[in-house]
Symmetry: C2
Subunit: 243 residues, 2 copies
């Protein structure tokens, strides 16, 4: 249930675009029409359309209208802040998650994480290593660090399901934004063991620092993929800096 009018309109329109009710290169109804259809003010309609535009669904053309630019082959937004379970669901993938390691550690044992999350040495962290398998083949190794203070009762069982769902639905926290870096790195021996034979022995590595809505950094994630099968898709707009 979303009581915001502009979000409701956003969801209805984005849904219709994803379903193919509005296809690529087709026009959306004009703003004035949407104003009448939804019985809202024009600024409210415009808020919904702006969201569609920044998320890559439409392009607004001055004097003409809003045209759909989304097409399915955009392969879905790995570039969004989205959990593995959510991707799995939206793409109907048959991956299995296995928790390889689940422990409490101190921040100073993982200096890179300590720096990234801006922690003191004695801060306690959960360190969770999970593999994502298709059949017998390991495709992704995820290593996550979470603040113990934020979720005192994280368990291995929760980690097998969706930790994000736990944070948002059980803990009532709002996950908001992240910084990511993608690199290609030689695999470590541990990684080679988990992956099995891999050529080349390189991993596409995505490191993320994830923040809550109150701007607190609460998660550090390292996601390793077989390089040969990795694909990161992104939608971006040119900055409005130009004078």
């Amino acid at each position: 249930m979303n009581r915001n009018k502009y979000r409701m309109i956003y969801q209805e329109l984005s849904g219709k675009i994803i379903n193919g009710e509005y296809k690529q290169n087709e026009q959306l109804p004009s703003e004035n029409l949407l104003v009448k259809q939804y019985s809202v003010s024009r600024e409210t309609v415009r808020k919904a359309l702006s969201l569609l535009q920044t998320n890559g669904f439409i392009q607004k053309l001055k004097g003409k209208g809003s045209v759909v630019i989304y097409n399915e082959s955009m392969n879905f937004p790995v570039s969004q802040l989205i959990s593995f379970e959510e991707i799995k669901e939206s793409l109907n993938m048959d991956y299995i998650t296995r928790v390889e390691s689940f422990e409490k550690v101190f921040a100073y044992e993982h200096p890179r994480v300590m720096t990234a999350l801006n922690l003191t040495e004695q801060t306690e962290l959960f360190r969770v290593v999970r593999t994502r398998r298709k059949g017998d083949k390991v495709n992704i190794i995820d290593t996550d660090y979470f603040l113990v203070d934020l979720m005192p009762v994280l368990t291995k069982e929760i980690a097998e399901q969706s930790i994000y769902s736990y944070i948002e639905n059980k803990l009532g926290q709002i996950i908001s934004f992240s910084n990511k870096a993608i690199t290609f790195e030689p695999m470590t021996e541990t990684e080679l063991e988990l992956f099995g034979e891999v050529t080349p022995p390189y991993a596409a590595t995505v490191r993320s620092i994830v923040h809550l809505a109150n701007a607190l950094p609460f998660q550090y994630n390292i996601s390793k993929h077989r390089a040969s099968e990795f694909k990161f898709v992104d939608f971006s707009r040119r900055a409005v800096n130009k004078k």
Copy 2:
């Protein structure tokens, strides 16, 4: 010269954040204060702040204010739609661009490009191959395809400078958005020749389809990087889909 009030405010505030006048974790002035300072309505201030938020400069906190989350180590947005010359300028890099090849081709000779840009077989394209060198070392190979119809007078000399600047400043076209995909691919023999010895013989590959403001796809770009030196940085927000 930007006559839009909200863009002026956006630029002034983002400038102050980049300069360090507002530092990470500091508060921006409240919306009401900004209304008074700039003598504009609150919605105009809010438009500027929204832009700062979607571009990763601030996080707005209900009941509290806007806090700066930008920090320099974000290493600048390779994830934006930005030309190599612009990156070079903003990071003070000492790269040299060399045009390795400059020719006119037909779309049907490059089927992948034809499909991506949605062209007919006989459409003419410029195909430009450029290397980006630091000293004698080739770090990036860029292959670009542009619509001949759009810029009948593209020359090798322009390609040595910034083609984006040419398109925007000379042709008056507005570059607007792009789809990118990042993959990890074996190098071809041509690429190995240009790069020289590389281990591993794999390239971090970024393919982009770039569109103008009228939604016309006009450029297909393939950017190959030495895998060992590649780093892609991204800022993303969690989607507002949640009910």
